[in-house]
């Protein structure tokens, strides 16, 4: 019987905490990029994933992803409700740590992946539709794909490599984002009004948390605290660093100024691209992947306005494009010395298949899910709600109320219901 190793477990628990932290990090990253009136609505689209997807993961998500494979397509129901997921190691996954630790670690991936998609739909997705979408997508799209690649499914058997989720998380979320854009249509005023980030320091804070958490995401995917985890951590970091440079150089050339939002976005693009490669390449290759991701994603995002579609927060340009860059470069740059896999044209071909299959399945399934939700509750807020902003229309809140220094609320007239009731009684 496999035994729990305390060192490996310490690192896996730490990594789990780090990956959990990424989802609120994403909430801040996305929240800072939207207009003030949508900051809370955008934050909520990530925050609620921590609620709905976590619960669903325990109930059915984990078993569909990592239960004994049914024909390479989906996991069986052995682990339904975390039945049989205990303190002893699993026989198949992360065999030196508690099965519960592995299941928890994977839960955090299941939470953040659908949350990533919401960036494409920002500033117009209804909250009730968001909740339904996150839940349905995590079960119907994420779980199968995780199974295909990591749970003993057909893509993994084919030999596709994905260290920490380049296809399962990023290409998948990016393709789903594309479907969301198609279904939702453009925001009111898109292309004519200024949609500028309302709080860039918040964007940086979010990106910093993402970067920090990504050490858990990638180096944690070694599922042990040894050389492979160290290699993945180094690669993760230098790819992110190089991608900042990769983004800022063409940005400076084209717009005369390297921007802060660009640096933050470039770092995320590098982190996305290194995700599938982190445990397969050497540091110099990670630098190349980072540089490439920064540049290619910059070009993708810079091109966007010409294409006329409205990917509010560039999920396609960063996660789909960056994910593809990473998946393909992994096929070429993998070095056997790192983790036993050597890049080759054959491997590249397999990676192309994995990417294509992911895009096709994710786009189609997401499109169907959104159409179904649209038929039931409507995916898009009403026009007046969009003008008022998601914060007021979906949540009856505003992000900031600064204007009260020196006295009571200036713009807010305060009659809490209960006080009014009391008033009426007198």
């Amino acid at each position: 019987m496999p035994e729990v190793d305390a060192g490996d477990t310490a690192w896996l628990l730490t990594s789990t905490a780090l990956v959990m932290f990424m989802t609120p990090g994403l909430a801040l990253f996305y929240g800072g990029l939207v207009r003030t009136k949508n900051v809370l609505g955008t934050i909520m689209q990530s925050l609620i994933a921590l609620g709905i997807v976590s619960v669903l993961w325990v109930l059915v998500g984990y078993t569909l992803s990592f239960g004994p494979s049914i024909g390479g397509l989906i996991g069986g129901l052995d682990f339904i409700g975390f039945r049989g997921v205990g303190q002893a190691p699993s026989a198949s996954y992360a065999t030196t740590t508690p099965h519960l630790a592995f299941a928890a670690y994977q839960m955090m991936f299941a939470v953040i992946t659908p949350a990533l998609i919401t960036g494409a739909a920002a500033e117009r997705l209804r909250f009730s539709a968001t909740v339904l979408f996150l839940g349905a997508w995590s079960v119907l799209v994420y779980a199968p794909l995780a199974h295909w690649v990591w749970g003993g499914g057909w893509l993994g058997r084919l030999g596709a490599v994905d260290f920490a989720g380049g296809t399962v998380v990023h290409v998948n979320a990016g393709a789903a984002a594309l479907a969301a854009i198609v279904v939702l249509g453009r925001r009111r005023g898109h292309g004519t009004e200024a949609f500028v980030p309302h709080n860039v320091p918040m964007v940086v804070t979010g990106a910093a948390i993402l970067w920090f958490g990504w050490f858990g995401f990638n180096a944690g995917s070694a599922l042990s605290a040894g050389g492979l985890a160290a290699a993945a951590l180094v690669n993760t970091h230098v790819a992110a660093g190089a991608a900042i440079l990769g983004w800022l150089l063409p940005e400076r050339a084209r717009h005369r100024r390297p921007t802060t939002v660009g640096a933050a976005t470039g770092a995320v693009a590098g982190l996305v691209a290194i995700t599938p490669a982190a445990g397969f390449v050497e540091p110099w290759a990670a630098i190349l992947i980072g540089l490439a991701a920064g540049m290619v994603c910059f070009l993708a995002v810079d091109l966007k306005p010409r294409l006329g579609y409205d990917d509010s927060l560039d999920v396609v340009g960063v996660h789909l494009v960056g994910g593809i860059v990473g998946a393909l470069l992994t096929g070429i740059l993998a070095t056997a010395a790192v983790n036993g896999i050597e890049g080759s044209l054959g491997l590249l071909g397999t990676q192309v298949v994995a990417v294509a299959a992911t895009i096709a399945f994710s786009f189609a399934a997401t499109w169907a899910i959104l159409k179904a939700i649209d038929a039931v509750v409507g995916v898009r807020v009403r026009e007046d709600e969009e003008i008022d902003g998601l914060d007021l229309s979906q949540h009856a809140e505003v992000g900031y109320t600064f204007g009260e220094r020196g006295g009571s609320a200036s713009s807010t007239v305060a009659v809490p219901e209960a006080a009014r009731e009391k008033e009426a009684v007198r």
Binding site: G403, R405, G406, S408, A409, S410, S411, V413
Partner: protein, 112 residues
């Protein structure tokens, strides 16, 4: 037509607004401003440097009113905005040539 402008303490805004509403004023416009006057500001300290801040937060309330409404409006403000402490602010009246309601194009008294 006249414009009545009042500079008042921020925490008096609600009371002023309610008083005006109760005498039939249907609209007003509020701006956050900084006042300088007899009322002292305050000192701020950051890493060993002391700064004297002379400005005090105030709100400006503007009410377009017909001639015969001016005095009631002024009186309502004078009454509700007063704390008796320095810095209560000012009320002043300025002439207005004409007013339009944008929604309908109505002019004059009908516009307010």
């Amino acid at each position: 037509m006249k414009l009545v402008t009042a500079i008042v303490k921020p925490f008096k805004l609600d009371e002023v607004k309610e008083a005006l509403r109760s005498i039939g004023v249907n609209g007003l416009t509020v701006t956050e401003v900084q006042g300088f006057g007899r009322q002292r500001g305050h000192t701020e300290v950051y890493r060993g440097a002391e700064y004297q801040v002379d400005f005090v937060p105030k709100v400006k309330v503007e009410v377009l009113a017909e001639e015969d409404q001016v005095q009631p409006v002024v009186d309502a403000i004078l009454k509700t905005a007063r704390t008796g402490k320095i810095g209560d602010g000012k009320v002043f009246v300025t002439p207005v040539d004409q007013v339009w309601r944008i929604r309908t194009g109505e002019m004059g008294p009908d516009a307010i």
